[in-house]
Assembly symmetry: C2
Homo-oligomer: 689 residues x 2
């Protein structure tokens, strides 16, 4: 339709980019952690774009089996890269794979994250090299999966039913599925990929149960892919998203494995059936945290993708006119559209910086745990940090994944009808991401864990034990809780310092409330676990406010470390993040008296004006996320603004215009050409009843 | 696995049903509007269940084309029923089709709701009988679609680009798509179903534009299904949900239709090109409201489906134990799980009763409009009611569909991992429902319309004009706004009367705030539309609180009309709905001083205790919704509690266990058996850059 009037788009984005108040490329470097990292990301993105294996533009019209076949080809690519590039490059590659193709990310992650992680965390050095030689590093010979959850058991690992019984006569373990609900379920890679599995099972030796341990169980013959005797695996089939990953179920019927296939870094069973349990059980928790940290990072990355699409489209799309006779208004110029998207953009920055910070803390912690031995003088310090990491990451995983799920949905809705098309990418982004709220610990359960941790910190602080890190605000509570915001204007109420103090105070109040509820329960005669249960809602609420504040404090810290030319815009975004969070949750901020009603009105007004302000940089901020068009895979998000042409082109390419449906003769013709007399009245008339 | 221990389930639900505190069957009758209506619903559900055409249990493994073919067969069934049953029976059938198969509901609705609705609303009596004879009632000869939205235009109908130019020489209209963005887009039924379309186009006569009018345009030859000359239709293909509906795009290139194909009930064009415009433009708005009302009703119906699944599963699933050595705890017994689901159950009742009430009001209004003529003495009264209906339905559509989308997602998350399986039904329920937040008016835009209406009511009330219906609380504001809750205990604060007054007062406050912001803008010299734009956020907020309260007031009214034996449980649910809404939005209730911080703490505690109380009736309440297992199509929601067996059975049936993937030789074997020496290091090392 070249002779027709061109759709809006390219000129709009060009004009938007003129408005930038900060150096975009510098922002990219800062977000990525330096120019070198940015260039690495760009090189990997270019590889994806040029490699036919990574093609994604037609994925919405593939069948499940076609998607899985393609995803297997990508697993092969990943195996190649693992063997040929440094770990930090592979890690960066994986982060980008999650943005490009979450289903494949999971399929690769099942082996390299879960199976391989279980070996690293649970195998003795000898066991580790044994499996490495079998192909656990290169996939040359074996691919692993991770059989933890069962049909009847998800979050509660200690309640798993699968058994591993030591048979002294043959020096073997017998792995068995004792009931339908014990069927291993949701096992990624089990249906079509894995030759081996790490299996979580209750260890029984001489009739005694030692709790859940890990066992490597061969599943299939790598030559024929036939199942080993005693093993039944079925495909779990269609799911909401992550179609590239083949989840399956596994039933074991008295399957025998050598004793040496139990991972024995921690608990050991010797030939005589003597069981030796590890001195430091807590150190095995580290692996749990890794997944949570990865999901905080992923939340930021996916939020940035969704926002790039929705904000670029909002700068192109015009709808309704404020003044008769003039062109319609760009939807990004509407107050309400700014309010829909700008606070979420600020939230994405908060999650991004928090992800970086939490990853750093996690890696430091793992390094210090690596060499730790019982009796070391650093032990207590490391255990304290582990406890903080465990408690904090629980709440952060929950609220980051919830936030991003909400961001994706808001972005989809902000694109109007076109957000509902598969080709614009937000629908699958949502369905792929949604599982983050459930796996690696159901979000709600995690908030309760987080709340339990906060209550214990509160009680320690009250007993005089100084708290460090993200809960240091619980020290000197008496002084903190008396503070009130003294701001006399909208300007004064919306500084970083006021927001910071507001979050400290209100987080302290809600944690204190949860702690008091807990203590009151104990005083009434409840057991501790009963009392924790009773104050569940208070725990959830405490974790929510604590986590919102935690993100704010990380964001504020990231501004202080940033180049001077980025500070003004980051400052605006950080204030917007914090003030919006307060406006949306104004209840506790009023209830505990930190702000007056008038101050809350000022805050609301400031959120609106910050939205208008940030809007000027909106396109440049999405540019700074630096995702290529190929990575975004959404015509609405195209960097050159040709949204409508690209969208129309995709739809045209996918479906030949004017096609007569294959079922025309069977289903449509008879409808249009039927004789009405043939329609006898068979319907009962309810009047006759 | 018959020899193994049986999974939990049947006994659990049996025990739950013993706990009912109300007569379940009576509740069903009350919800349905009487025993007769319940029996009609049951008859229709049984027909679906027995008719192979309506089979849905295998739908998650079908391709898009297979789903569409099946859905076409269902359209044929619907056409049969239209011709053979009374309208109220067909209406009931359609409500149930929406619960069973939303994609097919839309495909049928495109003709019978949109196309046929446009004829009824826009055709002269002669035109109406002409199209009826062509098959518009029976689909014997034609099927219609509704071409309103364009690639570049959704919400803003008056900005549509398609033109209909009167050619006096031939007495024809020329329908034309002047640009890419003018392409009709998202047109349900266009891709594979429709022979005709109602087309929205700018009417041009003698060079003058008269705005958007409706034209019937033949699209395809009913004999061959070939496109008519000048018409290009393409398939829009994959979308987030509603796969049964075939959305397409349409481009018209100078397509000629007889003058009589313009719908001329309102605006008329005669042979000479004289245009006669209608005296009462507002009366054409009625059709817009119908869709909104249908979506309020659908929100209740779908929420009940999601909740039945999640709550029944919560009564079966056990996870973690509170006491060592005892069986794990039923998840419905956890405080937090009650808090996740019970308030949503209460919300579903509120939406259900509001849907009934708003439908009734809508039908009464339409009846009175049917015969209305300019100059009638009832005219002003009807126009007032139309204005209220228009304003109120906007906010209700937005907040009901948002609420239900949230309910579905919460229910999915509450089912843990199994919520992510396609077979458990919540994933597709979400993707199918999501479009309700966008079509028939984007929710955010609708809240602004609602806010505009509330501001105008506020200003009228202030000027002394008494307000009726749902905005009557705006009369005597001075007296209302001084009220404060005087409750001295948790019990006193949580009565229906307190909640009612709280919503009146706080709704009045936020409406007043929006009105004052608007007036301040005008005082500053803004035009009215500019000032409305500036106070967008306040308008949205006002509509939110008003709508939450509106639902509460309808629910309270429904209790008063209910049988005495249902009142205790309905009373609890209504209080739970209202108090939860206050707890979740405590900000404005504190900000405007209706409640004190202590009272808000009491409210939170009451919500928790009401959740525990309602939990006793939870299964019976889902039973009262009376959806058959077939309608629910989710193993987790089975009425007999055999969730695990049914789920495992579905998965087993869909996928043969032990199958070797078709791509084993192509993609897996080469990975497992490759020679590592062949992996040359081709990867650039970034250290060299």
């Amino acid at each position: 339709m070249t002779s027709l009037q061109k759709p809006p788009g390219p000129a709009e984005l060009q004009a938007e980019r003129q408005r930038a108040t900060f150096p975009v490329r510098q922002m990219t470097y800062y977000l990525d952690g330096g120019e070198k990292q940015t260039k690495l990301k760009e090189r990997i993105m270019l590889q994806f774009e040029r490699d036919p294996v990574w093609q994604v533009s037609d994925q919405h019209d593939l069948t499940l089996q076609e998607i899985r076949e393609r995803s297997m080809a990508k697993v092969r690519r990943a195996a190649y890269h693992v063997a040929n590039e440094p770990m930090h490059v592979f890690k960066q590659r994986m982060e980008l794979i999650s943005v490009l193709d979450p289903g494949t990310w999971t399929r690769i992650g099942v082996h390299y994250g879960l199976f391989f992680g279980a070996l690293r965390g649970g195998a003795t050095p000898e066991q580790f090299s044994y499996w490495a030689q079998k192909g656990a590093v290169t996939l040359n010979g074996m691919v692993g999966c991770f059989a933890m959850t069962e049909l009847g058991h998800g979050s509660n690992v200690s309640g798993l039913e699968t058994t591993a019984t030591y048979d002294e006569t043959s020096d073997e373990f017998v792995i068995h599925t004792p009931s339908l609900t014990a069927t291993k379920w949701w096992i990624g890679g089990a249906a079509q990929t894995a030759t081996h599995s790490v299996v979580f099972a209750q260890l029984y030796v001489k009739g005694k149960c030692y709790g859940v341990k890990n066992f490597v169980v061969p599943l299939r013959d790598p030559e024929t892919f036939e199942l080993k005797p005693g093993i039944v695996i079925g495909d779990i089939g269609a799911k909401m998203g992550r179609h590239g990953t083949d989840n399956g179920y596994i039933q074991f019927t008295h399957v025998r494995i050598p004793r040496s296939y139990m991972l024995m870094k921690h608990t050991k069973v010797n030939r005589n059936g003597d069981v030796k349990e590890p001195p430091l059980q807590q150190l095995t928790y580290g692996a749990l945290i890794q997944g949570r940290v990865a999901m905080v990072v992923d939340s930021g990355a996916i939020a940035k993708k969704a926002l790039t699409i929705a904000i670029r489209y909002a700068a192109i799309r015009r709808q309704f006119g404020l003044k008769a006779g003039e062109p319609e208004t760009k939807i990004l110029d509407y107050v309400i559209h700014q309010y829909r998207l700008m606070p979420l953009l600020a939230q994405a920055f908060a999650m991004h910086f928090t992800g970086i910070e939490v990853s750093r803390m996690y890696e430091e912690l793992m390094d210090s745990m690596e060499t730790l031995q019982p009796g070391d003088k650093e032990l207590n310090d490391v255990l304290e940090k582990l406890k903080e990491m465990h408690g904090t990451s629980a709440g952060l995983k929950a609220f980051s994944t919830w936030s991003t799920l909400n961001i994706i949905d808001q972005c989809r809705q902000a694109c109007g009808g076109h957000g509902y098309s598969a080709y614009t990418g937000l629908a699958s982004l949502y369905s792929d991401f949604a599982v983050h709220c459930t796996w690696e610990g159901d979000n709600t359960i995690l908030t309760l864990q987080g709340g339990r941790y906060l209550i214990s910190c509160y009680r320690e602080a009250k007993a005089g034990k100084s708290q460090a890190g993200g809960v240091a605000y619980l020290n000197n509570l008496d002084k903190l809780l008396n503070k009130r915001c003294s701001a006399k204007s909208a300007e004064e109420v919306s500084t970083l310092e006021v927001v910071e103090e507001a979050f400290w105070l209100v987080a302290a109040q809600v944690v204190k409330k949860a702690g008091e509820d807990f203590e009151a329960g104990v005083k009434r005669g409840l057991r501790e676990d009963e009392s924790y249960e009773e104050c569940s809602q208070a725990r959830l609420f405490a974790t929510k406010i604590h986590s919102l504040g935690y993100l704010f404090h990380r964001f504020k810290g990231a501004i202080q470390r940033s180049p001077a030319e980025l500070q003004p815009i980051l400052n605006k975004l950080c204030r917007l993040y914090g003030l919006y969070a307060i406006a949306e949750n104004s209840g506790p901020f009023l209830q505990y008296g930190y702000f007056t009603p008038l101050q809350v009105d000022w805050i609301r007004a400031t959120v609106t004006s910050l939205c208008k302000d940030v809007r000027n940089d909106a396109i440049s901020l999405t540019d700074s996320f630096n995702y290529s068009d190929f990575m975004l895979n959404s015509p609405l998000g195209r960097a050159d603004g040709t949204a409508y042409e690209a969208y129309f082109g995709m739809v045209q390419k996918a479906h030949k215009a004017g096609a007569v449906p294959a079922y025309f003769q069977k289903e449509i013709y008879p409808l249009l050409h039927r004789k009405l007399e043939a329609d006898d009245v068979l319907e009962l008339d309810e009047e006759d009843e």
